[in-house]
């Protein structure tokens, strides 16, 4: 039976529009109904890495397996960047760290939604959402 309980709610009503500008799309996990995934779901890491300029700044969805810190080369942004492998290649992910063991959870399926970025010729994904399957 559904039980509805009156509890405590704290509502902060902010006047003006300035608050909207503070939204940090790169770090917030956004539940955004208007989120536009620019690229299709079937974009592969191989495609991204073979022609990064085509994808830089675009939002992609990558399905693959967690590879911990087993990347090709050094991590692009921080020492906690981690790697996803979709079968066509590996790419580093930054921005969100899944609650996984970088050794023992290697091979777990997950989905990353994020923006393709490039720094010092190294391509990576700045995640806005990571789902462990």
């Amino acid at each position: 039976m559904r039980k509805v309980v009156l509890g405590l709610i704290i509502v902060v009503l902010l006047a003006g529009c300035a608050e909207h500008e503070d939204i940090n799309m790169t770090t917030d996990h956004v539940t955004n109904v208007s989120d536009n995934v620019i690229t299709a779901n079937n974009i592969t890491i191989s495609q991204i890495k073979s022609d990064p300029s085509e994808f830089v700044g675009k939002k992609v969805v990558i399905h693959g397996i967690y590879m911990g810190w087993r990347g090709d080369g050094p991590p692009p942004v921080t020492r906690s960047d981690w790697v996803i492998d979709d079968g066509t290649g590996r790419i580093y992910v930054t921005g969100i760290v899944p609650n996984l063991d970088p050794v023992k959870d290697i091979g777990k399926n997950l989905t990353v939604i994020g923006y393709v970025r490039i720094i010092n010729d190294r391509v990576y994904i700045e995640a806005v959402k990571v789902e462990i399957e």
């Binding site: 509805v4 405590l8 509502v11 902060v12 009503l13 608050e19 996990h29 020492r79 906690s80 609650n99």
Partner: protein
């Protein structure tokens, strides 16, 4: 067998390289046998820019990616891209994740490179506290070649205890050139073995480059008589100097802390005080929502959390307990610097997952958790009788706007939101949407989408949040957050700000704001007020305009009485006097009309 080999090698080196006592021996336990291999080489090259001196020994146990390349270097000065320092021991391959290796390295170095002061720097990945049990996550010094072994918290504690027994003293500085090791749980662990040590580490993840060894060693070799406090402060300041000058890097932190402090005692007093009154749950939830987290979002800044509770609680008892903890933290901090991405951190993080499902009960086996009431405090928080929902946002949404609501749900396992209102919606993007992550969700409501795709109408809506707690078998619903969708316009961008000649005789040919553009409903007509404010702050022109949707109009003409200076144009719209629509915009324009005369037949303006 391996121990015997190491012993023989140690004796050999002891005979071959006697060293007089220096001021400092800096030991770097560099685990590059993983994806950080390139950074290891970079950092060795940074060290070689300075090198060791008579007074400063820089000794590195470096394990590179692959097999058979574990070496101890005595760093010598060299400006080239290759690592050319003296290899004082070639160890073939060692397991850097074995606490015995760490203890052996420190003991060997202290015996061979004696000094007044010792700094040990653990260089690798880092993830804060960790127990080697299920599910394992946190630790330091991952060694890919050695079956991905790594040092757990308990192994680090073991290694430090063994080092203490071997060398008979505390290390002066224990540094972590690694992510996320600047936390109370780690400080507590160090304190158990080496209470006089200073911990240097980062609350946040570290950029790949890690510490700027060239800057640090340049300062240390220039002033080798630095005290441990001075060197620890130097490391923190050099780290800040290095990353604050780098574009795009703002989320960095580093702190130096006395591990022998009264923080644990103050934590106990603080959380016991908090737990004594259930009404404090809301204050804790508010503090957990507002406090700065790190990339691992279950780590929060301890001082910031305490300070928020101190400022938000009305209870003097709670305030006193919070102040006691804040004082303890302040006293323990030697140096702390951070980038603009972490404006409120103080130097010590602590484990505080926002929800019960994120909490790892293995934490309770950690020495810190075992000895303090912090884990009991977390359990108390997760066991709240009713969920607490925090919402912030703008309740009045204009047609054409995208509204954001941010908030957190505490004391529940999951939650969803729906927008209910004066239209029929049986499914879609505004019904039963999960709030993810639960403790820091963002809801966006796009009114254009509502009107275009769901035939929404103007009126009052209810943003309903439904929280579920499987353990307590209840559903908790909030249904009194009203969202008013009205027709208040959005002021569009300015296309051209001003058209004023800077010469003479501008008179009525110069106009201001001739390209104001507004978008919205025709209902805005005659509701737009435009004011022009002179450099003295006086409104010198005001008009309720008949600007309609999407049109452009000249709204003012330069008057010859205007003096040169900066003029402000203010536009406001007030459709409904009962609603504070807050649709207001202003801009400043530089107008320099040098009025020499008023010409009723002005010449043309540029």
């Amino acid at each position: 067998m391996r121990k015997k080999l190491l012993l023989i090698l140690s004796l050999l080196v002891l005979v071959l390289t006697p060293s007089a006592a220096a001021e400092w021996t800096v030991m770097v336990y560099m685990d590059g046998d993983n994806d950080l291999n390139d950074f290891a080489i970079d950092d060795l090259n940074e060290m070689e820019l300075i090198g060791s001196t008579d007074q400063v020994n820089v000794i590195v146990l470096a394990d590179f990616l692959g097999n058979g390349n574990s070496r101890i270097y005595s760093i010598t000065q060299d400006g080239g891209p290759l690592v050319n320092s003296t290899i004082v021991l070639d160890l073939s391959e060692v397991n850097m994740g074995d606490p015995e290796t760490l203890a052996w390295f420190v003991n060997w170095t202290v015996n061979n490179y004696p000094a007044k002061h010792y700094a040990l720097i653990l260089w690798n990945h880092g993830t804060g506290w960790k127990l080697k049990c299920i599910p394992p996550i946190k630790g330091i010094c991952w060694d890919d070649t050695s079956n991905s072994d790594y040092l757990t918290s308990s192994e680090l504690q073991y290694a430090l205890s063994k080092i203490k027994s071997l060398i008979g003293r505390d290390l002066d500085i224990i540094g972590f050139d690694a992510c996320l090791m600047g936390m109370e749980e780690i400080d507590y662990l160090i304190n158990a073995s080496m209470p006089s040590a200073i911990r240097v580490g980062s609350e946040e993840v570290e950029p790949g480059d890690g510490w700027p060894y060239d800057l640090i060693l340049a300062n240390l070799t220039a002033n080798p008589s630095m005290t441990p406090e001075e060197l620890a402060t130097e490391i923190v300041n050099d780290y800040y100097r290095y990353y604050s000058s780098r574009a795009g890097v703002s989320d960095f932190t580093l702190s130096a802390v006395y591990v022998n402090n009264s923080i644990d005692e103050a934590i106990n007093y603080f959380v016991q005080t908090i737990m004594g009154d259930q009404s404090n749950l809301a204050i804790v939830a508010g503090a957990r929502y507002s406090v700065e987290e790190f990339l691992y979002t279950d780590y929060i800044d301890l001082y910031s959390f305490t300070q928020i509770i101190w400022s938000s609680s009305a209870s003097q008892t709670v305030k006193d307990a919070a102040a006691y903890l804040m004082d303890a933290i302040n006293t323990s901090i030697i140096a702390e610097r951070h980038g603009s991405g972490h404006p409120n951190v103080k130097g010590i993080s602590i484990y505080f997952p926002a929800t019960r499902l994120e909490y790892n009960p293995d934490y309770e086996y950690l020495k810190f958790a075992n000895d303090t009431q912090w884990d009991e405090f977390l359990t108390w928080f997760y066991s709240m009788p009713e969920p607490i929902i925090i919402i912030e946002g703008e309740p009045h949404i204009a047609k054409g706007d995208v509204a954001w609501f941010r908030g957190g749900v505490y004391g529940a396992d999951s939650a969803s939101w729906s927008l209910l209102g004066p239209y029929n919606m049986s499914s879609g993007d505004y019904l039963n949407q999960p709030l993810v992550p639960l403790h820091h969700f963002t809801i966006s409501i796009n009114t254009t989408d509502l009107f275009m795709n769901y035939n929404a109408t103007v009126g009052n809506y209810v943003l309903k949040i439904e929280a579920k707690n499987e353990a307590l078998s209840y559903i908790f619903a909030i249904d009194d957050i009203y969202v008013t969708v009205n027709v208040t316009p959005t002021l569009a961008t300015w296309r051209q700000e001003v058209n004023i000649s800077g010469t003479t005789n501008v008179a009525d040919s110069g106009s201001i704001c001739d390209d104001v553009r507004l978008v919205g409903d025709p209902a805005w007509e005659n509701k737009v007020t435009v004011e022009i404010v002179n450099p003295s702050g006086c409104v010198i022109w005001s008009s309720v305009t008949s600007i309609i949707n999407g049109s452009f109009k000249s709204v003012a003409t330069v008057d010859p009485s205007w003096t040169p200076g900066t003029y402000k144009v203010v536009i406001r719209v007030d459709i409904n006097p009962f609603i504070n629509e807050s649709n207001y915009t202003s801009m400043e324009i530089m107008a320099s009309p040098v009025i020499s005369s008023f010409n009723v037949n002005p010449s043309s303006v540029d």
